[in-house]
């Protein structure tokens, strides 16, 4: 490897540029958030001399974030859990070829990608069902079904487990929860995290389906706040950082799981 010193330099310069492009905006947002409005207005790009956490206190109150964070957690947990469980129960019989119409089902889920976007009729249906502006209506059409990855993963789990379990008198649902899911741990974990991220970050459905403030997830709270207090960039950035930080912290701890999980998942399929 020693002979490739120039290449190595090129690679490091490339990475350094990327790091600046990726980290600077976040640093700048943070820098903005801890300055007073006057400081910011006189020179937006100066580095903060002191920390003004009062922006955070103000933004937290004005943006009503405490009320929304519970909603976001609720939506994320419910949507993630149900969509993962549904996907497993769907993937298992298809993957095992236990059902006559298994391939049809597989096609039913794959074809979705090749059909027109159904957002507008979905809105009309939920409206007719009285599910507009309800938690259920917001969540019901949201989460996708990570069928494919489980489908592939289950194929790698020997069938003998099924037979042994059924001989031992283990019922189907107990089998899925007690034996299959533990065997699928890495796939379940990484898919759960990926699903959770997309639910947590959803904003379009929150704008389309929710009108009651009590139901807003945190992203919608941030969206309303930034429209409402356009003038005060420092508080806007403080609110933004408060919305982003829980997920950044979680990400720092689960980072290997997320990135490596997706890598592993992609390799298998």
């Amino acid at each position: 490897m020693k002979k490739n010193i120039p290449l190595k330099i090129i690679i490091y310069v490339f990475i350094a540029i990327l790091m600046v492009i990726y980290l600077f905006p976040l640093f700048y947002a943070f820098n903005t958030s801890i300055r007073t409005k006057l400081e910011y207005m006189s020179n937006p790009t100066a580095i903060a001399k002191s920390f003004h956490w009062e922006n955070y206190v103000q933004a937290f109150k004005k943006a009503n974030l405490s009320a929304y964070i519970g909603n976001s957690v609720f939506y994320t947990v419910v949507c993630t859990t149900t969509s993962i469980l549904m996907a497993i129960f769907l993937a298992f019989p298809i993957s095992r070829n236990y059902l006559k119409f298994g391939p049809v089902l597989l096609g039913l889920f794959m074809i979705g990608m090749f059909l027109p976007d159904g957002t507008i009729p979905q809105f009309q249906i939920l409206l007719k069902l009285g599910l507009y502006n309800t938690r259920l209506g917001y969540m019901i059409g949201g989460g996708g079904t990570p069928l494919l990855m489980f489908y592939v993963y289950i194929k790698g789990i020997p069938k003998e487990f099924d037979e042994a379990a059924s001989l031992d008198g283990c019922g189907y649902f107990r089998y899925i929860f007690k034996i299959l899911i533990p065997l699928m741990k890495p796939a379940v974990a990484s898919m759960a995290i990926v699903t959770a991220i997309s639910v947590w970050n959803d904003i379009i459905r929150a704008i389309i389906y929710l009108s009651n403030k009590e139901l807003y997830p945190i992203t919608r709270g941030l969206y309303v706040f930034q429209g409402q207090y356009q003038v005060d960039m420092t508080q806007q950035m403080a609110a933004l950082i408060m919305v982003a930080s829980p997920i950044i912290i979680l990400y720092i701890f689960l980072q290997r799981y997320i990135v490596d999980g997706i890598v592993a998942g992609a390799v298998k399929s």
Binding site: Y28, N97, D162, W200, I203
Partner: protein, 307 residues
């Protein structure tokens, strides 16, 4: 069916019961709405509950093709193509280099760099858009000051000439992590033995890339490109949160669908939601995606035949 039906170890009713929720949701919230989009495109349904609506035949399509400024329509279509091609090409080329660099053993701290580049995926579209609006503020923002050193200036998101480029940049910044991760997965599945054998033969780095990495990684890149094409044609969120629904300079087909159907961020003017007409735009978008994937598949096929 290629395979004989396997004998199930579990009662069939239990299997079917387990499958039902997912299938029910997929049919009611996925398939039926998708097909209904086609039907709604022939109506003047509004989106406000209680307003009477009716079938109006081909009126929406007539309006789409003949009753709107053809120049504007072409602008929107052109934007759609530029956005799609721009995002797909830039994202995949850079992602390829990133994943090669971050897969190479000579780079220390690879885990950290990967994590940073994947971070925007975790942050989501709203945070990403607001962060870049702040950074690309034309009024004494950091980038504005930086380019002023070279005597340049730009309105970034606010100027017709630069808005689309800024939107593409923000989209790529946000979604790069996904492409990188998928590429890394592909790279890791390439056996090390091949490289070791090549090293014994004394091949250069470039030769290794050309004769081993690229051909073996091609299926992965192909998946990435397909995902980017479909994803960028459907994505309007960055446009919505940075330049808004007002300026036609950054409007794409998918942004128009939401504009007509839900009137989000359409400026201070209150327009009526026109979901029937929005469905017409959705159908056009559908045809557009269909054609784009077809063209791409053709190109790939021809390339495969040539080599």
């Amino acid at each position: 069916m290629q395979q004989q039906l396997a004998k199930s170890a579990f009662p069939k009713w239990a299997l079917v019961l387990g499958v039902l929720p997912a299938v029910f949701l997929q049919v009611t919230m996925g398939l039926i709405p998708s097909i209904t989009t086609f039907i709604l495109s022939f109506t003047d349904i509004s989106g406000v509950a209680g307003v009477p609506w009716k079938f109006i035949g081909l009126d929406n399509y007539k309006e789409f093709f003949f009753q709107q400024s053809s120049r504007d329509l072409i602008t929107v279509l052109k934007n759609t193509v530029i956005f799609c091609v721009g995002v797909t090409v830039i994202q995949n080329v850079i992602a390829l280099f990133i994943s090669l660099a971050l897969n190479s053993k000579m780079v220390k701290g690879r885990g950290f760099f990967r994590a940073v580049i994947f971070l925007p995926v975790v942050l989501g579209v709203l945070v990403t858009s607001l962060v870049w609006l702040n950074t690309l503020n034309p009024l004494e923002g950091p980038v504005a000051k930086f380019i002023a050193l070279f005597g340049l200036s730009s309105g970034f998101f606010t100027s017709t000439n630069s808005a689309l480029a800024c939107v593409i940049f923000t989209q790529v910044w946000m979604a790069m992590g996904y492409s990188m991760v998928i590429n890394l997965a592909g790279l890791q599945s390439i056996s090390n033995d091949l490289y070791e054998a090549a090293e014994i033969d004394g091949t250069t780095v470039y030769q290794k890339f050309k004769y081993i990495t690229l051909p073996l990684l091609w299926p992965t890149i192909n998946v990435n490109i397909m995902l980017a094409i479909i994803g960028s044609l459907q994505s309007f969120q960055v446009i919505l949160f940075t330049t808004g629904g007002r300026n036609i300079a950054t409007q794409t087909l998918s942004a128009r669908v939401v504009y007509y159907a839900f009137n989000i961020n359409a400026g201070s003017g209150i327009a009526a939601m026109r979901q029937g007409y929005g469905a017409t735009w959705a159908m056009v978008l559908f045809v557009f995606i269909f054609i784009a994937t077809l063209i791409y598949q053709r190109a790939v096929k021809r390339r495969d035949e040539l080599t």
